[in-house]
Symmetry: C2
Subunit: 470 residues, 2 copies
């Protein structure tokens, strides 16, 4: 049956408003139904025209069992690039279930960077089988990429690129492109790299510079001799920072001997940047960033448990402070009622400071050059807000318990705790950063321990002195 475009219009085709396609619940149910029935024709009808990104989103929404079934039903028509658009967990879910022949077919049709991402997700035995089935030239290139460390530029890079000697003219390059034909050029490219006979990078000619040059101009006359490049062994996150800072669209990747081995493009880097942001957010919330990659219930529960255990210890430290003042609490139960306000407000204020500090460290806006200025600014903010909240809490507490003395006591404790929290909120992340620990992961429990201990400690000490307790 020939595909009828009117009939097979999916929600993914409507971009008139520039919005992304959202896969409707009905559409997903339709696909699930067709998969359950093993109706390959209907699956083709529904899914055949989807953009790879929408196909990826669809795969995420399907059940574990349905995912590999969809790939099988699509057969040779399945677009393997869709596997680049799903999370690692979903990808491995699918790859696990696919026969080696399907994998070989899939890897063969992918660009080198995507092929590497697929191969990474395979068991060593399957990886070897797939590699062995590929033509020697492809195999060598993919093996070399896989030899680079995980998350390195070498894994992310595209190994097909266009390089030419410096004495070629613009006209000659254009003739070369036309003769070359589709298969021998990368699917998408932005530039021609100018290299010497040893493949050392001399410069870059972007396509827009190439097309506006006269035919007789030599490449070395129009190339940009930008020295920005990335080592293949370097971490992808470092490369991402370079893209971000210098607004790059692509950057050459070189090996240890400065030979050109690939190119990193912005679309891969956007994913790295987004992942970094996710990791920072999750770490600040006390969640292991790896969690997003797994659906394994017990793994998640255990990972959350680990971080909560650290907090448990800090909670017992706080309780020890309270236990130390047991006598005073018995004598004046209002202290037990009001204590959490002092501790909690300090914790929230310190969390504000800490969040600003962690973010500024990540974006490199907080450096040694301005750290002292920012520490003083945060201390001043802590003092101002400490005074303000001290005043408010003092008035409320004194009236609530009909005890005038409680006013100045809680006000002073509040002021002390907000200043201490401000100091802890900025110094702790700075210290972790200096010690090369990720401040987003480590700062939280430390900072709240400070505000809990100082909050309860200051409040109960000041109260004991004022009211002559204990």
């Amino acid at each position: 049956m020939p595909l009828d475009h009117e009939d097979t219009a999916t929600p993914a085709e409507d971009f008139r408003d520039g919005g992304e396609a959202s896969l409707s619940r009905e559409f997903v149910l339709d696909v699930e139904g067709a998969i359950a029935l093993g109706d390959a024709e209907r699956v083709h009808e529904l899914v055949g025209d989807l953009h790879e990104a929408d196909l990826g989103a669809l795969l995420e929404l399907l059940s574990h069992e349905a995912r590999p079934r969809l790939v099988e039903l699509m057969g040779a028509d399945f677009d393997f690039t869709a596997l680049m658009e799903v999370g690692e967990a979903t990808r491995e879910d699918i790859l696990e279930e696919l026969p080696v022949e399907t994998l070989i077919e899939g890897v063969r049709e992918l660009e080198s960077d995507d092929a590497v991402a697929i191969l990474e997700g395979l068991e060593p035995k399957e990886q070897a089988e797939v590699l062995d089935a590929l033509p020697a030239q492809e195999r060598i290139v993919l093996r070399r990429s896989l030899d680079y460390p995980e998350d390195s530029a070498g894994r992310l890079m595209q190994t097909t690129f266009v390089a030419a000697p410096p004495f070629w003219t613009a006209g000659r390059v254009l003739d070369f492109f036309r003769e070359c034909g589709e298969e021998n050029l990368p699917e998408n490219f932005f530039e021609v790299f100018v290299v010497d006979p040893g493949y050392h990078l001399l410069g870059t000619v972007f396509l827009d510079a190439l097309v506006r040059a006269r035919s007789s101009v030599r490449l070395d006359e129009i190339m940009q001799e930008d020295r920005r490049r990335v080592k293949a062994t370097e971490d992808g996150a470092e490369a991402a920072r370079l893209f971000e800072r210098y607004n790059l669209v692509s950057v050459p990747v070189v090996d240890e001997s400065e030979r050109l081995v690939g190119v990193l493009t912005i679309d891969d880097i956007v994913d790295v940047l987004q992942e970094q942001a996710s990791d920072e957010i999750l770490a600040l919330g006390g969640v292991n960033p790896e969690e997003e990659l797994t659906d394994n219930f017990w793994w998640i529960a255990r990972s959350r448990f680990t971080w909560l255990s650290v907090n448990m210890l800090t909670a017992f430290i706080t309780s020890s402070v309270l236990k130390h003042f047991q006598l005073q609490l018995e004598q004046m139960v209002a202290l037990a009622v009001l204590g959490p306000i002092v501790a909690g407000q300090g914790g929230n204020s310190a969390t504000q400071t800490m969040t600003v500090a962690v973010r500024a460290l990540a974006t490199r806006e907080l450096t040694r050059a301005n750290a002292v200025r920012i520490i003083f600014r945060e201390l001043a903010i802590g003092a101002v807000n400490g005074a303000a909240f001290g005043l408010v809490t003092g008035i409320v507490a004194a009236n609530w318990f009909h005890n005038v003395g409680l006013g100045p006591v809680i006000a002073l404790a509040m002021f002390t705790n907000l200043v201490a929290g401000a100091l802890g909120g900025i110094v702790v992340p700075l210290a972790f950063d200096k010690l090369k620990f990720d401040p987003a992961v480590a700062s939280g429990p430390f900072v709240t321990t400070i505000t809990d201990v100082v909050g309860y400690g200051a409040f109960l000490t000041i109260a004991s002195l004022w009211f002559h307790l204990g």
Copy 2:
């Protein structure tokens, strides 16, 4: 004095390791010294060869006073694109101090999207003066961009682009580029837009497709008829999502009548994406995202105060629960000592769930299609960890206070609170999202109120029943 490259090598020139340049403290001090002395020659020597991104980073590190002085000392050699690389606060700092003549010169040399960003930062009177001094054609284009809402695609877009009719051949386009010369083409471009006589977009030919086509091929034979486009009035954040989802490098911008008016490129979008991530992180930490844009101490203090006030209210709610159990606390002070452990652990556990939920909502991984599944998963994790921490805390508490009954009491309270926290941590962000409030901003205080009230409430109620208190 001719510039000697050996002498003026700045740290910014070393990219051999692919790392970004870090401006050394010594270098910044040198620049500051030269500015203080008004030594234009020395400033040129030090700063003249800096990349715009590094010049921007340098401006951020200088004092308020030194920033506009640097621009003046550099005169016509100052690269205005550096102002795109600094925060809004710094940019306005500088623009405020610059004479209108300098501004006019600067705006004239910028690409349209950057010029719009500069004009946005000016006072209405100055903006009009600068616009009036520009050639009519530029003025009209910039005015139109400024008419679009703030942060819209129309403000971010580049208004110079290459468009051609569908019947032009690849060869004719290449000839056109060569005849056109530098000035009449955009500084960087990736594609030729194919338009009808009314400037309606028919398709796109990327340069790599153009250069591999035979000269006689018509554009409409090689163009991609992708319907993805962005309305100029649309929010930049929506456009960013499109780029991210479909790995785009550029996207056409159309006006209300579907006419091509500009192009959005990935380098602008990367900034939007990074800003979104920053906003989410700061919001989760209880910080107003606008804060990063200002150095105004009182503004920051007041903005932090506002959010802390909300938390203050929730702290008093918690205290009211404690006050309700005043009698029981007096009878058994151990409850006052242990209560914060139950409340705190519930709060931390709920924050984990909330962070995962907020992130998944932002990345659209959490949708109506899988919400129920995720709610049950979080409840199960809360129950498992509640049971585990209940057991541990129970054993510790019973031994610490030599009171066997405290064991089951705190264990049951802990379990209850972690389950309640899990429910709150996922349902609260989902509810805010549904009500079109930003869940990152609003969820925190709600969720911790739940765990505080349930934590203290459950612990003290169970204890009262078990020990027959009150």
